[in-house]
């Protein structure tokens, strides 16, 4: 392991640790609200956007509004104008775990050179199509494979990946039940 050069994964760990201390002392500032809006376009095609959120006690905004097209592929008789909603779940999980790996690596003074995640989720359509009530609608399981090139032992990399799961919001969201309320205004 290279102990002399400075490790830089582009993560400001001091700022994160500072935020952790500040939010421990001010629990109300730690209350965040994440938001998205979605408008139907046509068929199974919809367009979602993300711009504002709430945190640190006040309204916040992204630098720009991000837009996401979701649709289904042609074999579902759709026009394939975007990724499927379940693929967005994989995108969320992959990007959350990857961000976590960078942050934990920075904190543990591990220099990353490349991190690549490949995800695959199984799904039995007998669930959503109502063919078999024993089959769940969602994924039957998710497999994530990381290829990581870093200045660290295999064991330290495994520990990095394990810790990123412990601290990941999306990993928690997909592994544990969450109450969801859906209303019509």
């Amino acid at each position: 392991m290279n102990m002399t050069t400075t490790v830089d994964n582009g993560v400001n760990v001091e700022a994160l640790l500072g935020a952790r201390q500040a939010l421990t002392d001010m629990p109300e500032a730690a209350q965040f609200k994440w938001r998205a809006t979605c408008a139907w376009v046509n068929g199974t095609h919809s367009r979602s956007s993300v711009s504002s959120f709430y945190g640190l006690g006040s309204e916040q905004a992204h630098k720009t509004e991000f837009k996401y097209d979701a649709d289904h592929p042609a074999i579902f008789a759709s026009e394939d104008k975007g990724a499927t909603p379940v693929e967005y779940v994989l995108v969320g999980l992959a990007s959350c775990l990857t961000a976590g790996i960078a942050a934990v690596a920075q904190n543990r003074k591990i220099q990353l050179r490349s991190v690549k995640a490949t995800l695959e989720a199984g799904m039995d359509l007998a669930g959503i199509l109502g063919i078999d009530s024993e089959v769940r609608n969602g994924f039957s399981g998710i497999k994530v494979i990381f290829e990581i090139d870093a200045d660290a032992t295999r064991e330290a990399i495994n520990a990095l990946v394990a810790q990123s799961q412990r601290r990941s919001a999306v990993f928690d969201i997909v592994t544990n039940p969450t109450n969801v309320s859906v209303e019509v205004k």
């Binding site: 064991e155 495994n158 520990a159 394990a162 990993f171 997909v174 592994t175 544990n176």
Partner: protein, 434 residues
């Protein structure tokens, strides 16, 4: 034991709890000629007598069972004490230090009163200059809120209420929690012939014996048990770490998830919900097991490194690492209690100390006692909590260092607080028995 009339009594120090740490503090105070009484809701070693399951043995070997100037002197230093042996060991220690214990005396309230304290019990009221809370870390069994959502047909009990498999319905059992308690209960209930599902969240894996030596020997040799509270990086987390998967048996066997899988226990993830008669489990089991394996590996690496640079290497057995935890390809995410004939859920989800009687502004926003290495407020001390001053603080052998340090601090406090602070009337003074 001193018998006074009902009404206010006065003494210098009140120790609450006649378990090993309260008695050790009593011994320290007597040795320093400090007048005190030990208030005990039941009898000496009460929770060991009345709040443990029948088969339990200490997780620490007999050679480690020691209190100030007092240690195990039997023929089996590598064995593990049964509950009757623990009770005898502590009761004899109470006699050894001549502790002025008032049994069957329950503390109802403790409050600061001028420069001293007022201690209200179901027998009488006391005034004193210092209070040592030694009721232990296991006052209240943690019960997650979702326990209330279990169907009425399923019996729910905590590890404090569990005694033996024979008290359970013949149906299946869900044991929640995979620390020392959870793995031990899962093992003995499975051995009774019942179907057992064990829900495992974060857990600490440890071999009972490594390279021929007990893991407690290694932890001691590596200085881990002596690590101080002001030297660890994340004290909040260190205090929350669950007890390691250990059992004390004559065969010195390791009891980990692999051993339980071999015996037919079904391992599932952490309990995260109860919905329509189904218990839901987290999909994080694989990661929890991977983490426990990694941490055990790091610990054993440290033991091997220690052996490398020590004289005892030659006396050790060769390095042999435990196999990784086997996790089912698809751990189950839900359990239909009625359909699977699960009749009992046992919550082995940890404990928290009971300070409900403490009326002082010494709690944090989550209701946890604030303390700095056992010092709660001027004249107010606590003993025996997890990682209170050292990693070993909650163990019997951890009492000695903590009692010496906090006792010394307490003597300093008594010097600063004048005796008349607690004396309304000299006649109220109750003679200490020592």
């Amino acid at each position: 034991m001193t018998r006074g009339a009902r009404g206010a009594g006065a003494t210098d120090v009140i120790v609450i709890g006649a378990g090993h740490s309260g008695l050790a503090m009593s011994g320290f105070l007597s040795a320093n000629s400090v007048e005190h009484v030990v208030l005990e809701r039941g009898e000496v070693a009460n929770s060991w007598r009345h709040e443990r399951w029948d088969s339990l043995r200490l997780l620490t070997p007999n050679w480690q069972s020691r209190l100030p100037d007092y240690c195990y002197e039997g023929a089996d230093p590598d064995g593990f004490m049964t509950m009757p042996e623990v009770i005898r060991f502590i009761a004899r220690y109470a006699g050894f230090v001549g502790a002025p214990v008032r049994t069957a005396t329950t503390v109802r309230a403790v409050r600061q009163d001028g420069e001293g304290f007022c201690v209200v019990t179901d027998q009488r009221e006391w005034r004193c200059r210092a209070v040592v809370m030694a009721g232990g870390a296991h006052g209240i069994a943690n019960l997650p809120p979702l326990a209330a959502a279990l169907p009425a047909a399923v019996r729910s009990l905590t590890s404090k209420e569990y005694r033996r498999p024979g008290q359970l319905d013949d149906g299946g059992v869900l044991v929640v929690g995979a620390s020392a308690t959870g793995v031990q209960l899962a093992d003995e209930i499975r051995a009774s012939g019942r179907e057992v599902v064990l829900a495992a969240g974060e857990h600490i894996r440890m071999p009972r014996v490594y390279r021929g030596r007990d893991v407690q020997w290694w932890l001691t040799a590596a200085g881990i048990l002596d690590q101080r509270f002001d030297q660890v990086e994340d004290l909040v987390r260190a205090r929350r770490i669950p007890s390691p998967q250990l059992v004390g048996t004559p065969s010195r066997a390791t009891l980990d998830l692999n051993a339980l899988t071999d015996r037919g226990v079904n391992i599932v993830g952490r309990v995260v919900g109860v919905n329509a008669g189904k218990v839901q489990f987290s999909g994080t089991l694989r990661n929890e097991c991977a983490m426990a394996d990694l941490k055990q590996g790091r610990m054993l690496d440290a033991f091997d490194a220690l052996a490398e640079r020590s004289a005892f290497t030659a006396a050790l057995e060769p390095v042999q690492r435990p196999a990784p935890t086997r996790v089912p390809e698809m751990p189950r995410l839900a359990l239909d209690l009625a359909r699977e004939r699960i009749r009992t859920v046992i919550w082995a989800t940890g404990f928290r100390p009971d300070f409900s009687w403490l009326q002082a502004p010494v709690f944090d926003a989550k209701g946890r006692l604030r303390h700095h290495g056992g010092i709660v407020a001027p004249g107010l001390y606590v003993l025996g909590l997890n990682f209170m001053r050292r990693r070993k603080s909650s163990f019997m052998h951890g009492a000695e260092d903590d009692v010496r340090e906090l006792g010394t601090h307490l003597l300093g406090h008594l010097e600063r607080v004048p005796e008349h602070a607690i004396r309304q009337n000299p006649d109220e003074r109750v003679a200490a028995s020592k």
